[in-house]
Amino acid sequence: MAKWGMVIDLDKCTGCQACTTACTMENNRLPGENWQDVLFYHEGTYPNVKLMWFPRPCMHCENASCVSVCPTKATYKDPDGGFVLMDYNKCIGCKYCQVACPYGVRFYVDERAIVQPDIRGVFPSDTDRVWDPPYKGPHDDPARGIGIQPHGVVSKCTFCYHKVSKAPKGVPDLDEDIPALKEYVPACVRVCPPKARFFGDLDQPNSRVNRLIADNRGVRLKDHTGNKPQVYYLSGGATASVPSLRSSRASGQA
């Protein structure tokens, strides 16, 4: 069984947000409620300002705190692939997983819209779904958190389960440059213009993702929480970097 993981090379990431856009389209996300996002930070004050950006999907942790705190087992670790998924049919909307996720990658969208105008009012749904956009992805699997989010539940990135799970068994890497595999590549990986993202099986020692992690000293975000993310970052100290802080307190702006 595979344990899918992602490697993001921060030296290559240009912060173009193509990954965010692709994820939004693929998964019918509401504006601002981005499962995958590129976060922008700035440090310092004018004229000594440094702008940084940081791509951040769900980490699909090996030891996910969101999974352990869920009181209904609505969020779970898929044993075949290592995905952290949501079962919309079991979620009660208590939001404990949101509170317990150190990476801020879970979304309860029944509240005030982050981005105005509220597009839910433009494309209202007659069903239990939050909205009814004119374009909808063909995949709908509420037991795995795939499809348009219903009311009253928390959602999250699925690592594009609907694509990855159909990949041929035993494939070490899902590379968009291999024509036979490109349909199985997660949307954010497939569209990345500078090819900063790589997706593969962390349980296969010879997979490209494992080689990248080993050769470039891949790090995991907030590893001290014990969540053991399956997303690794590579950084040689160029523009993009893993932010050490969640706020700009150290830069004297707090």
Binding site: G32, E33, D37, L39, F40, Y41, H42, F54, R56, V67, S68, V69, C70, P71, T72, K73, A74, K90, C91, I92, G93, C94, K95, Y96, Q98, V99, A100, C101, P102, Y103, G104, V105, F107, Y108, V109, D110, E111, R112, A113, I114, H151, G152, V153, V154, K222, T225, L245, R246, S247, S248, R249, Q253, A254
Partner: protein, 380 residues
């Protein structure tokens, strides 16, 4: 006007308030859904409704602790407040759970999804299971106290079970927050213990306030046994509980202000907020003075004011703690401020009124129908 007539008046007033606020909340939630709340995906996931729920839950367990410890260790002096404390614990819990149901995305699904999930790794699973058994235990205790000749000696086994469950619910409620290691404002091993003392403090304040309310705040109508209990025992215990709670507050604030861990900067915001200052100076220190100064500690007005101030201080404490732990945004980028801001929406304030009116209605109903001040047999 008799005390019972005034109790009926309180009950009708609470019912009217419940119906009005209930209608307003129903209208708001059916129109806007949870968009009527000021919570969002930037970081304030648990807002004022969760504050209200936990406040009423911990008040309930505190009252249960007071009642059961009175049965086990208090002796006959505590007899006048035991039935009232048990009933009030149920009334308070009902108010809190009602608000929780309005906050959850799928409240009805929660009724079956949690018990049958067997999610043993989740503190919330254990909390819900503990609350379920706690309610059952309270109901059994109450049912046995409804007999005119109820005896404290007969209730010891029930009291032990209820006390253990009340302590468990409170401690697990603390674990829900205290275990979040990446939220330093919340995370601490002593949170479950702090919750237990806060809960006990709330229980003492509520039983004093609602005992006076049962007699329409007329000191002349308060039975001598109740007044003696307040003057000799409960005010002293309340003062001690305030002092212990203050120690926890000062200890956490000191660590927070001196600590350099990312997330503890919230303490600088909290410690200078008017709400926090009101909590400490008006809600804790002033009652402490009122309850320890010989000239005021036996005065009914001082006891009522002290209890009322403590009740409000604990609500502020719950608010500052739950909201404070979420003020640092997690990976939201520069477009989220260093510290998030949050104010309850009008609908969220109405939820507080729903809890207050519902609890007061149930409590007054019990006072009128069950005669909660009935003491039972002193010597079985």
């Amino acid at each position: 006007m008799s005390v019972t007539t005034k109790q009926v008046g309180i009950m009708l007033l609470a019912l009217t308030g419940l119906l009005v606020t209930g209608w307003l909340v129903f209208d708001s939630l059916s129109t806007h859904g949870h968009a009527a709340f000021n919570t969002d995906n930037l970081g304030i996931f648990w807002g004022f409704p969760i504050v209200i729920y936990d406040y009423f839950l911990l008040t309930s367990t505190g009252l249960a602790m007071v009642a059961t410890m009175a049965i086990l260790f208090g002796g006959d002096d505590f007899r006048p407040i035991i039935r009232r404390a048990v009933w009030l614990a149920l009334a308070g819990l009902l108010g809190g759970v009602a608000v929780l149901m309005l906050e959850l995305g799928h409240p009805l699904r929660a009724l079956w999804a949690i018990p049958f999930s067997f999610a043993f790794s989740s503190p919330l699973y254990w909390k819900v299971m503990a609350v379920s058994f706690y309610v059952l235990s309270l109901l059994i205790l109450l049912a046995r106290m409804l007999k005119p000749d109820w005896s404290m000696a007969d209730l010891r086994a029930n009291a032990v079970v209820t006390l253990v469950l009340a302590l468990s619910v409170t401690a697990i409620a603390g674990v829900v927050y205290g275990s979040q290691s990446f939220r330093p404002f919340w995370a601490s091993g002593d949170i479950p213990v702090a919750f237990i003392f806060e809960s006990l403090l709330g229980g003492l304040a509520f039983i004093i306030f609602f005992s006076y309310l049962a007699y329409a705040f007329n000191p002349a109508a308060v039975p001598a046994s109740v007044k003696r209990l307040f003057d000799d025992r409960l005010t002293g215990l309340l003062a001690l509980a305030i002092f212990i709670h203050l120690l926890f507050v000062v200890a956490r604030m000191s660590s927070g202000l001196y600590g350099n861990v990312e997330g503890l900067q919230v303490w600088r915001h909290v410690a200078t907020s008017p709400l926090f200052l009101a909590e400490v100076f008006l809600g804790l220190l002033l009652p402490l003075v009122l309850l320890t100064y010989p000239g005021t500690r036996i005065r009914p007005w001082a006891q009522i004011i002290a209890a009322l101030l403590v009740m409000n201080a604990l609500l502020i404490a719950r608010y500052e703690y739950i909201i404070g732990g979420q003020l640092v945004p997690l990976f939201k980028g520069a477009w989220a401020p260093d510290l998030l801001s949050y104010m309850p929406s009008p609908t969220e304030w109405l939820l507080l009124l729903i809890a207050v009116f519902l609890s007061n209605f149930v409590n007054a109903f019990g006072e009128v129908t069950l005669k909660l001040g009935r003491e039972g047999s002193a010597h079985p």
